[in-house]
Symmetry: C2
Subunit: 238 residues, 2 copies
C-alpha cells in the first residue's frame, strides 16, 4: 500500500475565463477603447490590451494616468457602464477557445476539482459560461467576490477556499501576466496560455512554469501536470 | 572642412503603415476573423494577430493550414474581398498613433528622406493617409507594387529604390516581427515599435536594434538614429 505522505494528490485547477477559456480579449479591448472615447479620451489599443485581465478600475486608471488624466469616482462609474454596453454589442462574435469545454470535462472525468476565477463583474462573466456550453451554476468567483481583483491574489485565494484546497496545491491557468503575478502571490503554480495574445517570453518572465497554446494544447499535455491525459495515463516511469 | 568619407549621412526612413503610423491592427485582425467565419472557418484571434503584417495570402494560408484547411485560389480571392468589406465597416474607429504626423513632419524639416512601405493593397492603405493627415500623393509602396510582400524584403528594397538610397543606409520602422525580418533580409537597420501589440522581446529577437513605444517615443529619441531631435541637435560629444 502506498504511503500517504509520498503519494502526490492531483492538483486543483483555478482557471481564468477571458482569453483563457473564451476568445473575447479583443472584444473587451475594443469595448474599453470605445468607452474611453465616449468619455472624450482616445487611448491606443495596445496600451489597453497590455492591461486587460486586471480589475477595470486599475486598468482604466492606469491607461488614463499615462495620458495625464485622473478620473473622478463618478467618471470611473460611467466608464464601466459604457464598457458594459459596448461589450454587449460586440459579444455576439465571442466563441469558446479550442478545447475549453473538453478540458473541463476531462478534469471532471478525472475527479480533479476546478473553478473559474475572473476579474470581470458577473454580468460580463456569466454569459460566457453559456458560450462555453457550461451550466449557469458552474463554480466561479468573479470581481464582485473580492475587494481587490488581479493582480492581487485574492481571487485565486477565494477560489481555492471555495474548493476547500490549499492554494499551494493549485494550478492557476491564465493568458495574462496578471494571472501569473496573482498566482505567484497566492502561492499557486502558474501556467500560461498564448491564446490571449501575450508572448511566451512575457508569460515565462511573469512566472509561468509551462506555456501552452490554448486549452486544447494544455489538455494534450495534461499529464505534465500530474493528471492522466485523455489517451490514458502513462505507465510508471522505468 | 569635414572629410566626406568620415561624415555620416543621416539615414533614410522606410516606415510600415498599419500598427506603426495608424492604430488599426485590431480592426484588421477582427475583419480577418469575420471574413474567415463568413467562409465557415473560425480561427482564434491571437493566431491572426501573430501573422498580421505579412501578405494576406501568406497570413490566411498560414492560419488555415494550422486548422487543416487548404484554400483554393477562388476561396482566397473571396476571402480577400470579404476582409476588405469587413475592414471598411470597422475603419471608422481607426486613429493615427501618437506622434505619427509629427515624426514625418520632423523628418521633412530635417530633409531626411522617408517613404511608407505597406503589405496592404492600395484600397486599404490609401484611406489611412487621410487619417494621419497626409496628402494622397505621399510617397508609398504597397502590396500591389511587389510580387512578394513581407516577410520578403521586396517592399523595402522597392521603397529604398524609389527614394534612390542604398537599403544599407535605410532604417526600417515597423511594429511586427515580419517588418524586422524583411528589414534584415533587405540589409536595412530594423527598429521596432510596441504600438502594434508585439512585445519588446519578440521585436528584439526578430532583429530590432532599438524598440520604442510609438512614433511619439521614437521622435523623442530620434537623435539616437543620427537625426537631430526636435529640441535641437545635441552638441558634439566632449
Amino acid at each position: 500500500m502506498a504511503d500517504a505522505h509520498t503519494e502526490a494528490q492531483p492538483p486543483a485547477f483555478l482557471l481564468d475565463l477571458d482569453g483563457t477559456l473564451v476568445d473575447n480579449v479583443y472584444q473587451h479591448v475594443m469595448a474599453w477603447q470605445q468607452a474611453l472615447e465616449d468619455m472624450g479620451v482616445w487611448v491606443p489599443v495596445w496600451r489597453i490590451h497590455r492591461r486587460i485581465g486586471i480589475s477595470a478600475e486599475l486598468m482604466t486608471r492606469g491607461v488614463l494616468r499615462e495620458g495625464g488624466h485622473e478620473p473622478t469616482d463618478e467618471q470611473m462609474q460611467r466608464l464601466k457602464q459604457l464598457h458594459g454596453k459596448r461589450y454587449v454589442a460586440l459579444r455576439g462574435s465571442v466563441r469558446p477557445l479550442p478545447g475549453a469545454r473538453e478540458l473541463l470535462d476531462h478534469l471532471d472525468a478525472q475527479q480533479v476539482p476546478w473553478i473559474i476565477a475572473s476579474s470581470s463583474p458577473p454580468g460580463d462573466a456569466e454569459p460566457m459560461l453559456d458560450i462555453i456550453g457550461l451550466p449557469a451554476d458552474t463554480p466561479m468567483v468573479t470581481g464582485h467576490d473580492v475587494t481587490r481583483a488581479k493582480p492581487d491574489p485574492d481571487l485565486f485565494l477565494t477560489a481555492a477556499a471555495r474548493l476547500g484546497v490549499d492554494p499551494n496545491r493549485a494550478v492557476v491557468v491564465g493568458d495574462s501576466i496578471w494571472d501569473l503575478l496573482a498566482a505567484q502571490r497566492a502561492g499557486a503554480l502558474g501556467l500560461g496560455l498564448l491564446c490571449g495574445g501575450y508572448s511566451r517570453n512575457e508569460l515565462e518572465r511573469a512566472g509561468a512554469y509551462r506555456v501552452y497554446q490554448d486549452p486544447a494544447d494544455l489538455l494534450q499535455h495534461i499529464d505534465e501536470l500530474g493528471v492522466p491525459n485523455p489517451g490514458g495515463a502513462p505507465g510508471p516511469s522505468t
